[in-house]
Structures are given as structure tokens and as C-alpha cells.
Amino acid sequence: MHEQEKAPLAQAASPDLAASPYAVEMRDICKAWPGVVANDHVNLRVQRGEIHALVGENGAGKTTLMNILYGLVRPDSGEIYVNGERVHISGPRDAIRLHIGMVHQHFMLIPPLTVAENIVLGQEPGGPLAVYDRRRARELVLQLSARYGLPIDPDARIEKLSVGLQQRVEILKALYRAADILILDEPTGVLTPQETYELFDVLRALSRQGKTVIFITHKLREVLDLTDRVTVLRRGRNVGELVTRETNQAEIARLMVGREVLLRVEKRPARPGPVVLRVENLHASSDRGLEALQGVSFEVHAGEILGIAGVEGNGQSELVEVLSGMRRATAGRVTVTHASGEQIGKTYDITSMNAREVRLVGVAHIPEDRRGTGLVLSDTIENNAILGRERWPRFAWARFILRLGEIAHWARRLVREFDVRTPSTRLPVRALSGGNQQKIIVAREFAADPQLLIAAQPTRGVDIGAIEFIHRRLVEQRDAGKAILLVSAELDEIRSLSDRIAVMYEGRIVDIVTPEASEEELGLLMTGGRPSGASREEQAQATGDSGA
């Protein structure tokens, strides 16, 4: 009911707002965290009814700016105008009152509650002291979903929904609160291409209905596809306000990073040696007990990079965890064969080894979640430099007494060779930037001279400089004869680094293609289609299935 009660209010207010063409205007916003200036006199002007892109690299201050607009973060200084009026937003409640809604990058949904409960939460029919009216809530959600063409089951529990549907719930949640200004923070990162297209359709429809959309992203193609105007941030400052029609990808990219993005990595053709990693019919369960890997088989040769492409959540994380000894396989076999040039050494069955044993066999692992998995943030660089190798004779006598001098020496060597910017190796890793944190992991894993290197999302959330650095190191390792398994959600990264690309979909490798495969082809494979190596009929059927 809230939706209908509040919508007229907003409309009634609109005539005298015609004075300002801007739904949102933020002036001279400043926000500093301890040691970091997130927003440095940032200005943002969003016209009513437009889809406005807010772009910038990771850490450019986009999310901070939008969190300020939504009242989650208080600015140090600056002014905010909504529909031409100066406003003070001291919490999400103020933002909601101003008809601002936000879809966060990490969804703000409560997993054990139902869709309807999540949507009406905080504005339940009847007010806080009333008995929860389940039927009414259901009805309201169904009305809302019919009105905006966003079908959803109001009684489903959030934890059972796909990511795409969860995002839909988030949008409905904002619309239920009568949002006229909708902020979406990196909404496509977790979506399949199809889901992305659907989302764009929804957003265009909302825009046609007069809603204002602020769309945070760093994917330039999305900016060009969807938006009307663009504001570019770099390191917490404005560097451009553009009309989408009048600009192009290169210009935005240059503004974002201050120079051309280098996505093509210089590399020689691979000279693959013997098979190092052999995965046969691998099965494994996810944390939720679902079958995440359903018979995965592939091989990685010495001296090649095998890229695993796929939309996130199709079993890549579980695959990496099984290979690195962090998760038990339920069936199948994984072997690692040592190789030096064309010489084939001993073969180890690592299927049921734990992470320590796998590492001893010569497998290095750059985990996808560097802060959550790869590092102990509160500990020093020195201690993080031996994580997983602390019992190696080099670092410990009798596997028990730490050789502190050797560890300090080792850490300084890693820091030096991998250009980690830090004043001291005794500093907690927490104090470093994302790029430098990642370099510590990369250094640690490369420096152990592995046979096989598993790199999962190796450049996620790091700055361009570090990305290039890590890419170059990966190719160097390949040329030094290592076998490399690269898992990345960034298709560009996969295509520019890999010598072969295996595409994963729903726990299976659907195909292994060359990096010359077109983006369309890969996109189709990533959604379960099978364009190459299959007959036309199969192909049609497969695409049909995925669409259904």
C-alpha cells in the first residue's frame, strides 16, 4: 500500500521542482577514511529520468559517494540537493524518505527470511507493533511485481534464490519504498550475460516511467549500452562528465585510469610440454551440499596457461578448492606430474591430500579471496610470506622452531623482487593497498618454484599497475615451463592470457576452445550453449534449453 500512498506525493511535489533539472546534485563532497581520501571535492549531477553511469576503477570512490547519498556514510563536507532542494541525509531512513533507493553490490537481504518479508521489512503493513500480515505482504509484493514486470515468488526464502532473482528482490525492495532515484552498485558483476540484458531492459523501462537511475560500474561496454550520461571518478576526484552518445570507450578508459588500458599482454606462442595436471571425472559438493562439480576432466601442460572461463558460481571456486586441497572430492582423480623441460618426473595422486600436502607436491595457489583466504590481515608481511610453508625446513627447525632470521630475509626478498610498496616487512598486511596485498600472495606462491600454479581471480580488485605486473609475471612463469591454471570472471583477462580456454557451466567443462574464439561464442558456452564441435541441431537445442 505504501507504494500507492507515496507515489502521488512525489508526483504532486514535482511541478515546483521543475526549476532544477537535476534529481540529484552533490557538490564538493569530501570524505576521508584514516589515511585514504575516498572523495575529494566530488561533484555529481544526475538529471531526472536519465540513466547515469558513475564509473571509475576500484577504489575510485564511487561506492563511497553513493553510500553518502544513501546515508550510510556521512561526508566530511559538501552539499547534497535532491530535486533542487538542499537536504541532509543522516541515515538510510532519510534517503528512503527522499525516495532514494539503493541496490548494493553485496545484497542487503536476510537469507533465512522470505522474499515478501525482505521487501516489506521496515515498512510492514500495519506499522511496527502490528501482527505481521503475511497475506497482505504477499499481495503487495505481487502487485508491485506485476506493475514493474518483475515476476517473483513472494514466499520463497532468499537463500534458495539465484543471484539474479535476489537482485530482483533488491530492486523490488527499493520500488516498494517508492524510490524515484535508484542507485545500483556494480549490479552486473554477478549476472550471466542473459541476466544482464534482462536487467538492462528493466532499467530502461524504469527510466521510461520517470525513474532516475544511477548505475555504478567499471565495465565500459555497459556504460555505452545503457546509459545517457557518465560521470568519471579517479582516485576520489572528478575527471569527467560526459554525454554517452558523444564519447567512446577509449575516452572513458583514458579518463578512468589516466592512460590507455593495456589488456593485450605481450607474449610469445606457448610451447607446451608434458601434462602436469590431470583431472579426471572430478565430482565435489558445494558448501550447501549441492553437486558443484559434476564430472570435470581436463589437462594442463607444462608451459601453458589454461584459462577457466565461466559465470561465477558454476563450480570454478569448488574446482580450485579441490585442486588446492581445501575441499574433498567426492569422486574422480587428480594427479600432478613433475616435469622439467621434456623430462617427466614422478606422478603424485593429490585427490585426497590436504592443502599442506598439495603444496609440498609443488602446487602453488593464488586464492580468489585474498583478504578472506590468502592472508592473515592482522599479521605482519613477514608472517604472511610463509603462510602454508611455515613448516618447511627452510623456515623451521624440526618443523617446529621458527627460523625468524631466515623468514625476515625471505620476506624482504619477496617484497623487493615483487615491488611491494611498504616501509617495513613488519607492518601488518592490513596496512597495504589491495594491489600490494595481492603482490605479497603472488610473490609467496611464485617464489616457491612450483610445478603447477593455480591462479584464481588473480587481479580482482587491484589497480591497473598491479594487474599488468601480475599478468606479466604469469606469462613469465609460463615461459619458464610452469603449468598454469587461470580462473577468472573477467573474460578479457582469460582471453588475453590463456593458451587454451575451458568454459565451465553448471559444474561441467562444456568445451575447451582457443583464445581466438569470439566473445559471442564464449558467451554462448558460458550460458550452456555448445556452438563449436557440436552439430547444428544440438546447438539449437542447447541454446533453446538455456533460454528456457
Partner: protein
């Protein structure tokens, strides 16, 4: 700091530990290691003054004097003379053991509320052995009792670890349950199977050959042959278990800072996911850590039983004993470091001792000590100091080296934005596009240098 340059053309090492950085790091360590507990203590003592003043009578000045007098007796009672100090050390010994027990568990981010129970378990098993084998010679019985008591504590703590590892049972709940189980078991034993003939709810004394010697007596018998002897050594009641406690502190320090066990425990505590990644078995570590925690506490109980009059277990003693809870304060106040735990135990043990003199002479109930203890816990939990510290550091040094200083103050920092060597480096990203980049832009093919490379060139050029 001998740096070996692996690559001949490598630039100046970026990880240059400058003198001032090292100093700041040291300052931070000392500041947080000493400053926070000290501030907590001062705040608690001030609040204690307020409590006394509220409940005392007379004018404001009288009340204030009463408070000062009370504190005076508290201090004198605790550390005022050698005899009082030796009484205090008797309290300090079990506090060190149980404090270590709490601290070890806390390193793995486990809250050991069960130190008292483990303490009791150790005491009881040692008592059983002491009473059942009372005819055995001391050289056999003493080590046997100590080992048995330590193991009993280890088992009682290890159960907590097992329940946590296997079933995910929260240690706060299970330790509390196990505490009460052992308290009742102990009461059953002293009123039944182990009851001393003709006595209510207590055991007989441990056989005399197991009583640990007093430090003063031991001194007279050994060093006293060469150095001045202590007269009337019997009045200094602290026994050699205090030396065991000091040894335990050293063992703890070594384990935690110098061994893979300490390293892995820290990883398990700080980031279990990283432990899994490193191949450290979280479950095994949790069981081991809790068993070790129990071992220290059990040892504490055993040594107290063997070291101090009346060398027996009395009914209901454990449930009314607060050592296990005080130990949490000791460990937190000591910030889990060996030296800190020693100082914390000295403080709490001393206050316990001084409290009785305070009650006797200044007419301020000894329970004031509990109130002070609670306030210490509050101030540690709240951590006023980091807030103040950050504000000060920010104000005075932000202008000069904002990133490093903020990092030292515990902030989250992007050091990339402000490398600390090479004055030109911070400006890099605000400079106009370098020529190479423009060229690269033009044809879209050329290899672009990273900032790191650019810096290398600049530095090489300068060199």
C-alpha cells in the same frame, strides 16, 4: 639489514626500513602494549575512588582522604613488605597459570571461561593420587601428582576443544557447563570417597613428602650457604611453584612467538579460512590449544594444592573461587603477552591480598577489588586508548606522513598512494600523460610501462 640484490639492475629496495619507521613501529607496540592496559587501570582506580567516596561518610575532603587511605592500605597489604609480597605471590602463582590458560585459548580466538574448572580438575586428580598413594616416596609421588594434575586439566580443556571441533559446540557454553560439573564432582568427592575421617567436607592433607618447599627455605638451603641467609624463613610463605609459574611464562612466550605451533594457532585464530588454505587443521589446532590451556590451568591447581597450607581440598572451594574469572582479566590486561600476564597477575594477586588489609584498617570492604577488576575489564573491552591515540597521532603527524602514521595507529591505509621513499613518487599519477603513453594510445599497440617501471627508470637515471 643485509640486503642481497638478486637482480643486478634492481632499483633501491622499496622495503627500506627507515629509522623513523622502525621507531614508530616500536612506539606503536609499546603504546598499545602498555598504554591501553595502563589507561584501563587508571580509569578503574579513579572509578574505585568514586565508589569509596560515595559510600564513605563526612565531607568531600574526608571522603577523598578515606579513599586515599584505603588505596594506601591496598598497596601496603599487597606489596608493602616482604611478607605481604610473599603472600601476594601466593595469589599470583595460580593467576599466572590460569591467565596463561585463557591467553593460549584466546590466541586461537577461543574464550576459555573454563580455566577454573580445569584448575579444579587438576587439583582433584592430584589430590586423589596423593591420598591413594600416600606411602610412596616423594621423588616418585611429586612428579606423578604434577603430571597427573596437568593431564587432568588438559583432558578437561581438551573436551571443550573436541566438542568445538567435532560438533561446533560454542566453547563459552561448554566451558561454563564443564566448570559446574567439576565443581559438583569435587564437592561429591570431598564429602564422600575422599572425605577425611572425622572432618566435614574436606580431604585429609596431602602426605608431607609431597609438600613443595618454600622459596625462602630453599634459598637458605642452597644459595644461603654462600650468601646472607633469610632469617625466619617460615614467614615468607611463597613456595617454589612460583618458579614453575615463571617457567610456564617462558614456555608460553617461546611457544607463541618462536614455534610453528604458535604461528599456526595465530592463523587459526585470526583467519580460519586462511588456515584451511595453508593446510593447517583448524580442528586439530583447536583441540590442541584447549588441551594446552587446560594443562596450564590444571598445573596451577596442582601446584597450589601441593605448595600451600593446608595441602587439602575443601568443599565448595572452587565454585566460590574467582581465580578462573580473574584470569580473564589478567590475560586481557596483559594483552596475551607473557610479560603482560605476569604484570597483570601481580596486580590482581596483589589487590586480592591487599584487599583484606584495606578492609581491616580502612574499613573499606575488600570486595572493592572486584569492582576495580570489573572496571578494568570494561575499559579494556571498550578500548578508549586507540580512539584517543588515533586522534592524537592524526593531529600531530598527519601533515608529515599521513599514511604510515595512520597505519601505525591501526588505520586502514593505502600505502600505494604514498610510497615512503622517492619524493616524486606520490605525484606520479597526477602528472600529465607521459610521452610513451601517448604513443601507446595513438597506435593502441605499444607496451605501456607500469608506474613501477617508470620509477625504476627515474631512479636509475638519477643514480
Amino acid at each position: 639489514m643485509a640486503l642481497q640484490t638478486a637482480q643486478p639492475r634492481s632499483p633501491t629496495p622499496p622495503a627500506l626500513e627507515t629509522r623513523s619507521t622502525a621507531w614508530l613501529l616500536w612506539l606503536r607496540r609499546v603504546g598499545s602494549g602498555l598504554g591501553r592496559p595502563l589507561l584501563a587501570l587508571v580509569l578503574a582506580l579513579i572509578a574505585g575512588v568514586v565508589v569509596i567516596m560515595i559510600t564513605a561518610s563526612g565531607s568531600l575532603i574526608d571522603r577523598f582522604n578515606a579513599a586515599l587511605l584505603a588505596y594506601g592500605y591496598l598497596f601496603v597489604g599487597a606489596f608493602g613488605n616482604a611478607a605481604n609480597l610473599s603472600f601476594s605471590l601466593v595469589n599470583v602463582t595460580p593467576l599466572i597459570f590460569t591467565g596463561l590458560s585463557v591467553a593460549i585459548a584466546y590466541r586461537a580466538r577461543l574464550f576459555n571461561i573454563g580455566a577454573e574448572g580445569q584448575f579444579a580438575a587438576g587439583t582433584i586428580l592430584a589430590a586423589i593420587i596423593g591420598l591413594k598413594c600416600s606411602t610412596w616416596p616423594g621423588w616418585l609421588l611429586v612428579p606423578l601428582m604434577i603430571v597427573a594434575g596437568a593431564l587432568a586439566g588438559a583432558v578437561w580443556g581438551g573436551i571443550v576443544g573436541l566438542l568445538k571441533a567435532w560438533r561446533g559446540a560454542h566453547e563459552v557454553v561448554t566451558t561454563i557447563m564443564l566448570n559446574w560439573i567439576i565443581f559438583y564432582v569435587s564437592d561429591w568427592l570431598v564429602s564422600g570417597p575422599l572425605q577425611a575421617p572425622g572432618q566435614a567436607d574436606q580431604t585429609s592433607s596431602m602426605p608431607p613428602q609431597t609438600n613443595l618447599p618454600k622459596l625462602s627455605v630453599l634459598y637458605n638451603q642452597t644459595l644461603g650457604h654462600f650468601l646472607p641467609t633469610i632469617s625466619q624463613p617460615e614467614q615468607y610463605i611463597v613456595d617454589i611453584s612460583f618458579l614453575f609459574a615463571l617457567a610456564a611464562l617462558v614456555v608460553y612466550w617461546f611457544l607463541m612467538t618462536r614455534t610453528t605451533f604458535g604461528y599456526e594457532t595465530r592463523v587459526v585464530g585470526e583467519n580460519p579460512r586462511a588456515a584451511q588454505y595453508a593446510g593447517i587443521s583448524v580442528k586439530r589446532n583447536v583441540v590442541l590449544v584447549m588441551a594446552l590451556a587446560g594443562l596450564f590451568a590444571g598445573l596451577g591447581g596442582t601446584l597450589q594444592l601441593m605448595g600451600q597450607y593446608p595441602y587439602e581440598v575443601i568443599g565448595q572451594v572452587f565454585r566460590n573461587d574467582t581465580t578462573g574469572f580473574d584470569a580473564i582479566g589478567v590475560a586481557l590486561l596483559g594483552r596475551m603477552t607473557a610479560i603482560g600476564i605476569f604484570l597483570g597477575a601481580l596486580l590482581f594477586g596483589g589487590m586480592r591480598q591487599g584487599g583484606s588489609l584495606m578492609q581491616l584498617k580502612a574499613n573499606v570492604p575488600g570486595d572493592l577489588v572486584y569492582i576495580i577488576e570489573a572496571l578494568v575489564l570494561f575499559s579494556i573491552a571498550v578500548q578508549f586508548l586507540p580512539v584517543i591515540q588515533q586522534a592524537i597521532v592524526k593531529r600531530f603527524s598527519a601533515a608529515r606522513r599521513p599514511t604510515v602514521v595512520a597505519a601505525l595507529a591501526g588505520g586502514v591505509v593505502d600505502l600505494d598512494q604514498e610510497p615512503t621513499n622517492g619524493a616524486e613518487a606520490p605525484m606520479m599519477n597526477d602528472q600529465p600523460l607521459p610521452e610513451t603513453d601517448k604513443a601507446a594510445l595513438a597506435d593502441g599497440q605499444g607496451q605501456v610501462q607500469t608506474p613501477a617501471q617508470e620509477r625504476q627508470h627515474q631512479q636509475n637515471g638519477e643514480a
